[in-house]
């Protein structure tokens, strides 16, 4: 939280790094090192095309990570995002099948995600169930509902417009060559990447400049103090979980749109990637610490690792091992710094 007041103490940049900027710097350095190493391994890695691919692949984890960051800062955790992602996509798909146009159908899907998140918030604040258990329950419920609604079968033939959000891009420049395949001069910035950028900026603004953001930090930092200070702790938490659910819904729509098919069993274990992104980015599961830019760097590290290891021909199993090690190292480095 030390960067709340960057404007007032410019000296801290030169004299000493505040805790969160130190962590962010080390995470950025890790990211740069990874990109450097992978570029040596494969010439195709360091290209605009591949860069955009990585961003596209990162966008779903990034969207989940933004919501996860809000929840983690309140001192909670949301294990349900992977399942809520699938349920939201399913509901969007069913809505499209029922004849609703794609845009409102997607809005319904996102609202279904938000609804799941709000239920999480109510269970946690009103029934006083710990976030781990409450969202674990929602993880099973949402997955079950998605599978039950579809009979575990994918929903396809949703029309071309359903794939636009996931596959479209801005500023795409294509040259007609006369051949069968036109030459792609610039692949364009994928819509999911733009969406993630907008969501991340909005969330960062919310956390840093708005009262609700301040209350999210205060709730995670010292819940009792926040309550005694007149912060509506329950409402703040419900807001955070609701937003996490809505972003999971959004991520679900992006993912299903990219596949142009609704897969009710998609997104298993995505919550763990989102948590990893937030933790690598410096969020503390104890609450009160974390920020969006860190999480974005964390998500990028995971994305780059996956992509780079893929291109280097490393198996998916080994990738999991590597990411697991990175998560532990990131937290370890953080602890060493705190002990200092």
């Amino acid at each position: 939280m030390a960067d709340l007041d960057r404007g007032t103490v410019p000296a801290s940049w030169t004299l000493k790094f505040s805790d969160s900027s130190f962590h962010k710097l080390s995470a950025l350095l890790t990211l740069a090192l990874l990109i450097f190493a992978f570029s040596f391994g494969n010439a195709a890695f360091f290209s605009i095309n591949n860069g955009l691919t990585v961003l596209l692949q990162t966008s779903v984890i990034g969207l989940l990570g933004v919501g996860m960051t809000l929840v983690i800062i309140t001192g909670g955790i949301d294990l349900s995002v992977g399942s809520v992602l699938a349920l939201s996509g399913t509901i969007t798909g069913l809505s499209v099948k029922a004849g609703i146009p794609v845009a409102p159908a997607m809005a319904i899907g996102v609202m279904a995600g938000a609804f799941c998140g709000v239920i999480n918030g109510f269970v946690i604040t009103k029934m006083r169930i710990t976030p781990f258990v409450a969202t674990l329950g929602m993880m099973l419920i949402a997955r079950g509902v998605a599978l039950q609604l579809t009979g575990a079968a994918p929903i396809s033939r949703l029309g071309e417009s359903f794939g636009l959000l996931g596959n479209g891009s801005l500023f795409r420049i294509v040259e007609k060559t006369g051949g069968i395949f036109p030459k792609v001069v610039f692949p364009g910035i994928p819509y999911p990447v733009i969406l993630l950028a907008v969501v991340a900026l909005a969330a960062a603004y919310l956390l840093r400049r708005r009262q609700i953001g301040r209350h999210i930090y205060a709730t995670g930092s010292n819940e009792e103090a926040a309550r005694l200070s007149g912060v509506l702790v329950d409402r703040t938490k419900i807001f955070a979980y609701g937003l996490s659910g809505a972003l999971a819904g959004l991520a679900g729509n992006v993912l299903m749109s990219r596949l142009v098919t609704v897969q009710p069993n998609e997104g298993v274990m995505y919550e763990l990637d989102a948590i990893a992104a937030a933790v690598i980015g410096g969020a503390s599961l104890m609450g009160g610490v974390g920020n969006i830019s860190g999480t974005m760097i964390g998500a990028a590290i995971i994305g780059v690792l996956r992509n780079g290891l893929n291109m280097a021909g490393v198996s998916a199993f080994v990738q999991q091992i590597v990411i697991g090690v990175i998560v532990i190292l990131a937290v370890y480095v953080d602890q060493i710094r705190n002990r200092r």
Binding site: A218, S221, A225, S229
Partner: protein, 263 residues
Amino acid sequence: MKPDAQSAAPLVQMEAIEKHFGGIKAVNGVSLDLYPGEVVGVLGHNGAGKSCLMRILSGAMIPNEGTIKVNGEVAQIQTPHDARDLGIETIYQTLALADHLNAPANLFLGRELKTRFGNLDDARMMAEAVRVVKRLNPNFKNLSDPVSSLSGGQRQVVAIARAIYFDVKILIMDEPTAALGPSETAMVGSLIKQLSNDGIGILLVSHDMHDVFELCDRVVVMNKGRKVGSHRIEDVTKDDVLSLIIKGELPHDWAPRSRKAVQ
């Protein structure tokens, strides 16, 4: 106490307050009043119910029975927010600070200053925090650090600043000097005197007899959830108060000390 204080209308009247947890009566039919400019010491063993009573007044706890009147009108204090709207501010023993936030963020927590567009006005909050903190401790510089990195005294200053910055009429201080060194304790003492001169009613929860006799106009003693005594400070000695705290009654031969002195 100011000579006219008793003649003025009471700021707070807590009447027959009861609070029980299961079968245990933490607060059992306690009445307490507080006049403008008066400093009332609330004393008792740990678990005597004094903290409970204070939490009820500050809205952190809802009583099972009893009414609270503020300025003669019945007040419904359901949340800390309600209490603050009535001008009741509390300095908690735990200080109730959010460790990861800096001093201004803590000072304005729940009552953030905002710009026209509803954004947090951090610049103005910092300026106001500097102003109020300077009044308490001129050497306090690192306001932009998270309060977890501040010293015990500085943290106390932030907690006190939060209570007195807003339009406080009734101030509850729960062991405000427990974590402080001698010079900071003296600062809190002079602040209490200054605030009571401004007509603010203060409830001081303390274990420190010296502080109590130094600062209070009146002492209220609780024992096992009941109020066992309410005396003007000049009517009792430290031994009398200790007897009330420990045994729940005054010594057998007790008579108001001030009257005795006159006789």
